[in-house]
Symmetry: C2
Subunit: 302 residues, 2 copies
């Protein structure tokens, strides 16, 4: 196992979810950047946008992000694009996520390095999340509220002066929000009941928006005839997977049911798996360097 430190993930959203050829030309441009690994692509025709996930070391991820921005500027034209989803640019949102060996500060530095380059390429850039330069610019919905249609006016507002790039808008490419945020984990718990209302009650109890656990979003669904508590864990430092699960198990028992099985959607960082094993085993310590595979390519022992 190679753990080049620091590693980063980028999860850009771009404003094309229908035209398969444009989407694949844009994605391929990123895929061929040396050191970049494309981990996922999800295109949504209704929202007419795509979410690309790629990772690598800092300079590779920076190069991938700049390549993506150029490809979006060439392939897409927001003046003629329409979609349900709020957006303000062809490359709409570009969050960077710290992975193994990197910190949020590292991700903020990467976001700002990238933002400066995108600015010099003519994109008005708003920094958000951990990379924001003002508290009112931290939350993405606030940054994006004006949308493409309103961003021209917004650029004249001193409170919304872009962090990098022109204060004038190129109508074809629009503006971009570049940020840094923690890794998101989608974690679902299947209950031993087909009563979706039970899942909804549990979701309300555990999610932050209704006074539950911090950095936890939750909804109740019926999936394959089984009640499911679907969770988004937006900051595993504040609420790890195992704490979210303990809360769901407790609430389920309280409602006379139980968690039958769970699923992790997408990829989980090694650190999340190690934290989980350490918690349940009561281990005094468990780090990546205690995993045999990580040692096979590290400097030899002794």
């Amino acid at each position: 196992m190679v753990l080049p430190a620091p590693l980063f993930e980028a999860v850009p959203n771009f404003s094309e979810g229908k035209d398969g050829e444009k989407i694949s030309r844009i994605t391929e441009a990123v895929r061929v950047v040396p050191g970049v690994r494309v981990l996922g692509l999800h295109s949504d025709p209704d929202h007419n946008r795509s979410v690309l996930t790629f990772a690598g070391e800092e300079d590779a991820v920076l190069a991938g992000a700049v390549t993506l921005a150029k490809a979006c500027a060439i392939e897409l034209d927001l003046a003629s694009q329409a979609g349900e989803h709020p957006r303000m640019g062809v490359l709409d949102v570009l969050p960077f996520v710290p992975l193994a060996g990197s910190t949020m500060d590292d991700a903020v530095r990467l976001a700002r390095r990238t933002a400066e380059i995108l600015g010099s390429l003519g994109f008005p850039v708003f920094l958000y999340g951990a990379a924001a330069t003002a508290s009112h610019r931290r939350d993405l919905p606030d940054v994006r509220r004006a949308g493409y249609e309103g961003v021209v006016e917004r650029l004249k507002d001193p409170r919304w002066r872009p962090d990098y790039g022109p204060h004038m808008l190129d109508p074809r490419r629009g503006a971009v929000a570049v940020g840094a945020r923690p890794f998101l984990v989608a974690f679902n718990a299947f209950l031993d009941t087909d009563d979706v209302e039970v899942a909804r009650v549990i979701a309300r109890r555990i999610r932050e928006s209704s006074g539950g656990l911090p950095a936890v979003k939750a909804l109740g669904f019926l999936v394959g005839g089984r009640a499911q508590v679907s969770m988004n864990l937006t900051d595993l430092e504040r609420t790890p997977i195992y704490i979210a699960l303990e809360a769901v198990r407790l609430a389920a028992a309280d409602l006379g049911t139980s968690v039958q099985s769970t699923e992790l959607v997408g990829l989980a960082p090694l650190a999340v798996i190690l934290d989980t094993a350490r918690y349940f085993l009561g281990l005094r310590e468990l780090e990546a360097e205690h995993v045999l595979e990580t040692r096979l390519y590290d400097p030899p022992f002794s």
Copy 2:
């Protein structure tokens, strides 16, 4: 994370634990073999033997083992060696362990390939463990019972004809036991008591030798003023870490105490960590390919 499949570990024991220069010349010879990673070296002056741990892909581990055997034959002379520990050769025991991506059958094949080469180099070789060619030759203590002093006689016994190599003994190098076995995990549970007798009672309840869990060896100790149940898990397929821990927790509660913390000694394979997280989270599945770091160097997604 690179997972070249199959990966193997070798844990050879050689009959020198006092002479640091000889030990380092022998270890260095293995360390410089391309593709070999030395993970650990433990030398015991009292037993006058050393345990070397190294890993890599099949051909690299085979080359490392053959290099080690040659180095032991050059550096060591069993005719003039003495130690408390039962031994029958300069390279005394050579077990191969399947790691990520490899099976016990793969390890048996590697053990037999290595044994054939060591035989051609003039070492009488007894296969043991999963690589044994007869049931009475499976257990290492049986294979090694006669020791160096008795192996000359043993070589004349049809039941103990070596699997490879000469039936005559070179008194300087002796004979070697080459085998295949599962990965061993040393796992300790610290109890919330200073009464070592409680740890001893728990150890007796859970270990295989007194009717407890299969493939579990356990003893009770007092470590740092705290009662400790010290476990060797010799086959994690039969008794995983989490089952051993559940048994210790149950027995501890039954005796009015509890497990305060635990420790894994040495390195744990990724599969052991994944199995532990899957068990406690109730995950429908969790494999190496679901760990983000493994994907960074695998073929790209989609």
